[in-house]
Subunit: 601 residues, 2 copies
């Protein structure tokens, strides 16, 4: 086992050995290749949330016990998870976005960073004060504050190295995403689709904080770093250039300027092609009649060249969204067999309830199938056009404003929200936390005022019709065929990121606060009730020969907004308060990390 | 093992069988006799914090693991602990004083009570927003809110049955003590010695909330329920009547009206004599020159008849206090051998650093010895007068105002504060959490304004000189001889209540957040790091055949006020902020219950 000096040496060697691949720029790719670390939010750049560690396995997982715990000192929704690099753990909190560096030796606090932020930012955070965590690279910790300030800290001391303001909270722009470091760039997005924000992604030089490039989700080609001739999209069964003004011509007038397409999810990167991947959110407003057209490139998977930001290809999952099915969920990069062929695939579980498999190099659409049979807004995806075949009955565009369109599945928070899935190269399966929730959706006309909610729909949410009566399932998915392999019912949405391991154990958390371990067949091996509901992501690492599992608990997020913000009207929280009202019978506000290991020998 | 219906039946039988002792008034004494419950804050009326349970013992304690956890949803200092009655646990929080009833079967929340209180009360709480917990009796939960409101709740539903306002926060009166139920009365006190409050204790009818009696700590005899002829005190080596105006003649003018003597500690009760016991706090102000005289009956142990409130006897530990050595610490009732004789003893570890053993029936002083050799403000207690022999060098009265009197031991927070000790009838020893902290004390003249701080001294605190350099010890004490049997050093003050058990294991928590188990000789058997620093008290109970250990963590209280209230000037928090500044390297704000058990078979 490597630690202390040996670890440092290993780190240096790893950097030297793999230098050609990432040009001496960052140690992060090398760090993620050592499973003792959990050096990125998803464990690695491919967003697989898989670990080669196997000390904890399907036979001994039932003996897991709590090794230690740590309170973040902050209540409300705790998304994301801690990073581990060598002998240090970096833990973050929701607003006001504390960061703690813990010594893994004795869990003492090496340093803490507690930024001062104007609390008025909370009023423009649609779905709780969450943060999806920090990034590490080259001795720096990158923190994306809620108020859009991106900060680089010295990972040894916690001292500020640089900071840059990336948006304007007065106009409803906030940030909840984790920053991601790919090569020498730290990349961040923006939240605020419910405030008419214009989505974009920005790359900064990780050493100086200087902006390298910015790419909007909507508007003129140049703003989007779209090349009409070379940026490709799936068209008529093949890839073709998007052509001139591919966004502008899908919006009425200047609506694209307040058109959403925010970027608050998880990003991935493939060093082989130098492409980074992410998705864009809903078009603003939620009242579809106010924005005729496809509203490109909201609800879109982007593949961009990391160095220039230029879009290599795009794919829009939900043209002209009528349901708030943001496309921000993670893109998992995996080399898998699709319909018998080996593919460099990108797998994406969209809010709209379809699981997509694309060729990540070309952008070609390979598979698009429902990952919950209850999905009813579209019957299927037309594989030639790549467009959903919308069910007129569940189309708020067709039923119109001020009409309550009932029984739409999934609800606005999707068959899956940002809580990231896991891919096990060992089993070839994807383990997906899902929501099993439907909604009534009543759009209405709304006027835009900067910094004011720009939603334009009333919602209510409730459990989807099903045999088990619950609001969620934890499923295994075959992305090569687009089939659910198994489905484990849960009382509430599974709002926690999953982790799969070489020990043939898959972990996830529940809104009631249980962390659970299941085997590759979905059989429950173990569970433990943490102090609060879990919307964080399960991580693993090794320290001094022992494998650890860690997860943040702290109820909140969209599903838990009723408890987190003390709301009690059913339609509050964009419909979530009524849908998840029973959560209060099972859990309570909190904010702490719980760490597990096998019993000491 | 008893549970569900059988438990109910047992409860009823226990009530019937022991009826003569408590006149059908309350089930609480019977409930405390079943070690499956932890039905009072101290486990029982004698404040022993001892349990007959022995499934967890000195041989297997090293295998203890976390069984489940629960977040209180509130940050800052968590004193006291949960109650367990049958299949239900009652958990409280600091301000705003939430109460949760948990189903022990699955830890789901049966009900919660979240009172609305004016947050301005926080400004008049000297030493954090703590609450020392709730009381149970006859299907009711009694909650003492910070704003002095005493509430009775239906233990089944959480519905309010009655509430009564017991003080005036605008005049600096707040409440942090747990209510105590003895027979048919619920008894509560008052905090605010730093605001010139006039201390008293009040008994209410537990069924209606009607005041039965009130007894002040200072003033006219009638107000104090002192009978000059029959209320006795230790005088010249024997008990003698206190005489007329025993308080009034020890104060200058009307100073007794703002003279402190608050009552925020733990109360005990002996049904054999129908006497209840408690201590009173510091005289106001902290500048001794402003209040010449003994300042009776501040700093005093009171023995009162439960039915009438009349004082049977009194004993003042620290006449004319010059150091803020409140006398509120618990009175532990134990039948022990003192200097060879069997005694119905009362044992009290005072803030002033002396461990007192008295005859609890008569009030006779039997033993008074230092329980930390570092104590220097007095050389000893004169056993004839019962008065301390004060060291002139460390007397702020003598050195005078505006002079910094350095090196006084212990500091104002005492060799022990309210964190309650435990007595094991099995070993005959007392297990005492202690502070090992000294101070510089500089009194100054202060004017009284209702509701404003009335302190009159500047303090700084620092570790006491010692070989281990720490700020605390966990000790075993022989109250019959007044000797430390063993002393286990700790880095910080031990600010957690102790628990001893028939399994020969003693538990306590540390400010860094460790719960520890030691054997009867002080050998550490096990420790576990909870989410936040521990200032709560360790409790135990049994459910469905399994013994559990539980403790609240949540750093705060006087020692942790720097972290809890975000203070950073060394003299803030009455000197505690500087003294405990290193705590921030080890723990963080939190608020959760952690429950432990042996591994499932």
């Amino acid at each position: 086992m490597l630690s202390g000096k040996n670890f440092k040496r290993w780190q240096q060697c790893a950097i030297l050995m793999s230098a050609p691949a990432f040009a001496f720029a960052s140690d992060i790719e090398a760090l993620t290749k050592n499973p003792q670390n959990w050096a990125m939010q998803a464990g690695g750049m491919a967003n697989q949330r898989y670990s080669e560690l196997k000390q904890i396995n399907k036979d001994n997982a039932k003996t897991l016990q709590v090794a230690w715990t740590f309170s973040t000192g902050v209540l409300r929704g705790h998304e994301g998870g801690p990073l581990v690099v060598g002998d240090t753990m970096y833990v973050h909190s929701p607003f006001p976005n504390h960061v703690y560096a813990l010594n893994l030796e004795d869990q003492s606090i090496k340093w803490k960073y507690e930024p001062k932020q104007d609390p008025s930012v909370i009023a423009v955070m649609c779905c709780d004060t969450v943060s999806r965590g920090v990034a590490y690279s080259n001795g720096k910790i990158f923190l994306q504050q809620a108020d859009t300030t991106l900060v680089a800290l010295d990972a040894k001391t916690g001292k500020e190295l640089w900071k840059v303001v990336t948006g304007n909270p007065k106009a409803g722009e906030t940030t909840t995403n984790a920053p991601h470091v790919f090569k020498d760039k730290v990349i961040t997005g923006v939240s605020g689709g419910e405030f008419g924000v214009r989505g974009r992604i920005t790359a900064y030089d990780m050493n100086t904080g200087k902006e390298v490039w910015k790419a909007f989700s909507t508007g003129p080609d140049a703003d989007m770093r779209i090349n009409p001739a070379t940026t490709m999209t799936w068209t008529d069964g093949k890839m073709a250039p998007v052509g001139k003004d591919s966004s502008l011509k899908t919006w009425k007038g200047d609506q694209w300027k307040i058109g959403g397409g925010t970027t608050w999810g998880w990003y991935s990167y493939d060093s082989a092609t130098n492409l980074m991947y992410y998705g864009t959110g809903n078009p603003s407003t939620w009242n579809p009649r106010q924005r005729p057209g496809d509203n490109k490139w909201s609800m879109t998977i982007f593949a961009r060249d990391l160095d220039t930001g230029e879009a290599k290809w795009v794919y829009q999952m939900t043209p002209h969204d009528e349901w708030d099915y943001d496309g921000v969920n993670e893109m998992i990069l995996a080399d898998i067999k699709v319909k018998g062929q080996n593919r460099k695939a990108l797998v994406h579980f969209d809010r709209n309830g379809f699981g997509y498999t694309l060729d990540r190099v070309t952008g070609a659409l390979l598979v698009a199938e429902k990952f919950d049979p209850v999905v009813n807004w579209a019957s299927s995806i037309d594989m030639k056009s790549g467009r959903p075949i919308v069910n007129a009955k569940y189309s708020p565009e067709l039923t119109g404003p001020d009409v309550n369109n009932k029984g739409i599945c999934p609800s606005a928070l999707g068959t899956k929200d940002q809580q990231p899935a896991s891919y096990s190269p060992k089993t070839g399966l994807f383990y997906v936390p899902t929501n099993h929730v439907c909604m009534d959706y009543e759009p209405f006309k709304v006027d835009y005022t900067a910094g004011q909610p720009y939603i334009g729909s009333t919602l209510s949410m409730y459990p989807a019709p099903s045999s088990h009566g619950g609001m969620g399932n934890f499923i295994a998915w075959d992305a090569g065929t687009g089939k659910v392999v198994w489905s484990k019912p849960e009382k509430f949405s599974v709002w926690s990121g999953a982790l799969s391991t070489a020990g043939d154990v898959v972990f996830y958390g529940t809104l009631e606060g249980y962390i659970k371990a299941v085997d590759n067949n979905g059989k429950e091996l173990w569970k433990f009730k943490t102090p609060s509901g879990i919307i964080g992501n399960v991580n693993t690492w090794e320290f001094k020969g022992r494998q650890y599992i860690g997860v943040l608990s702290g109820i909140g997020g969209w599903a838990g907004i009723g408890l987190a913000a003390g709301l009690d009207k059913p339609n509050d929280g964009l419909g979530a308060v009524g849908g998840y009202k029973d959560l209060a019978k099972y859990t309570n506000l909190g904010g702490s990390l719980t760490v597990f290991a096998l019993p000491p020998k």
